[in-house]
């Protein structure tokens, strides 16, 4: 991995995710830190990334590297953790039954992924599916359910849904910009994870062993 990618591109990208993940455009504008459960989910995802070879700490922090390079490596790991926590925060609904369901679903999904230990490519695909479906559920389906605008039929259906779920399903209406910011943020996060240094190719070591 190039020094520029490790020292500048990846940390800046992850910090941008950490910044945008908590933005609530309002009004009033608010910057919301991740809840405790998002921190737990982020730890789990870091473990999954490590186990699947997406995150290889030895490529970032190692005795053979200079102190400066190790500092850059530590920054990448710390900013990745912050970005992961904010990505989960962004993905989960703000309140009610959907929050409980999403958190439970993500917890089980991550534990399951950890146990099955997919390889790098499989995990990246899996992350795309998790974040993509989470985005669609929260910012398209739930947002549409919680949108107060609409015709009589929609309002009647919403009233039925509200009654059936004791008012725990619908969320606070979101400004339209929220979805666009979330899409951009999650895309940045996935690009950052994909750009993490991969394991070095093995054929060199095999060739050396043979010789």
């Amino acid at each position: 991995m190039s020094a520029a990618r490790e020292a500048v591109a990846l940390p800046v990208l992850f910090l941008t995710v950490a910044l945008l993940g908590g933005v609530s455009p309002g009004p009033p504008v608010a910057f919301v830190p991740p809840p405790l459960f998002a921190l737990v989910l982020a730890v789990l995802l870091m473990a999954v990334l490590f186990r699947s070879g997406v995150l290889i700490p030895a490529r970032l922090v190692d005795g053979s590297r200079s102190a400066l390079a190790n500092a850059n490596g530590v920054v990448v790991i710390v900013t990745l953790y912050a970005a992961t926590a904010q990505a989960f925060h962004l993905l989960t609904p703000s309140s009610g039954l959907p929050l409980l369901l999403f958190d439970g679903f993500l917890l089980v999904l991550l534990i399951n992924t950890f146990v099955t230990s997919p390889d790098r490519v499989e995990l990246l695909r899996s992350l795309m599916v998790i974040f993509g479906s989470g985005f669609v559920l929260k910012f398209i389906i739930l947002a549409s359910l919680s949108d107060p605008a609409g015709g009589r039929l929609k309002r009647a259906l919403l009233l039925l849904v509200e009654g059936a779920t004791l008012g725990t399903l619908t969320q606070e209406p979101m400004p339209p910009s929220v979805g666009y910011i979330a899409f951009f943020t999650l895309l940045l996060f996935l690009v950052g994870v994909w750009a993490l240094p991969a394991a070095p190719p093995r054929h060199h070591s095999r060739a050396m062993t043979r010789s």
Binding site: A3, V8, P11, V12, L15, F31, N72, V75
Partner: protein
């Protein structure tokens, strides 16, 4: 050598960016003016617009409080100057003050402004040397605003005078 420069420069950029994000989350700025003003204040480079401040003072002394607030807001868009925030709070006090009752909504906004002024003042101590005012310290102004926010049913309040 080039790699070391890139790594060191990257570290500096990232630490500065992270500090900015931490500041944004801690201070919760509402406008870009507050963001840029807050960052400039952090570097000691923030200055209020003196002309607007003088306009604000002129309006304030003529009891044109809404105009005064508009001018003070223009002078200190980032809300980073303790004295300007003190005067903004004072406009809310004078506008909201009444012989029979105080306007609690205005007093509450005045409290927010004086709290900002106290937070910005060194060690929380703010004294404004203005002969036109009867309360010179942020502590007095805050206490007066707090008294106004609380319900006072005493008939003697009609004999009070505006400070």
């Amino acid at each position: 050598m080039r790699e070391r420069i890139v790594r060191a420069g990257g570290l500096v950029v990232v630490v500065a960016y992270a500090a900015t994000i931490a500041w944004v989350y801690a201070r919760q700025p509402q406008t870009m003016a507050q963001v840029s003003g807050g960052l400039a204040a952090g570097l000691g480079a923030y200055h209020i617009d003196e002309a607007s401040f003088v306009d604000g003072l002129r309006f304030f002394r003529r009891d044109q409080f809404m105009e005064a607030r508009a001018a003070f807001d223009r002078a200190d868009p980032a809300q980073r100057d303790a004295a300007t925030q003190f005067y903004i709070s004072y406009t809310y006090y004078r506008e909201g003050w009444g012989h029979l009752y105080d306007d609690r909504r205005l007093f509450a906004r005045g409290l927010e402004a004086v709290d900002r002024a106290i937070a910005l003042a060194p060690k929380g101590r703010l004294v404004v040397d203005d002969p036109d005012l009867q309360m010179h310290s942020a502590d007095e102004l805050k206490a007066e605003l707090q008294r106004g926010v609380q319900r006072d049913l005493s008939p003697l309040r009609v004999f009070r005078s505006r400070k």
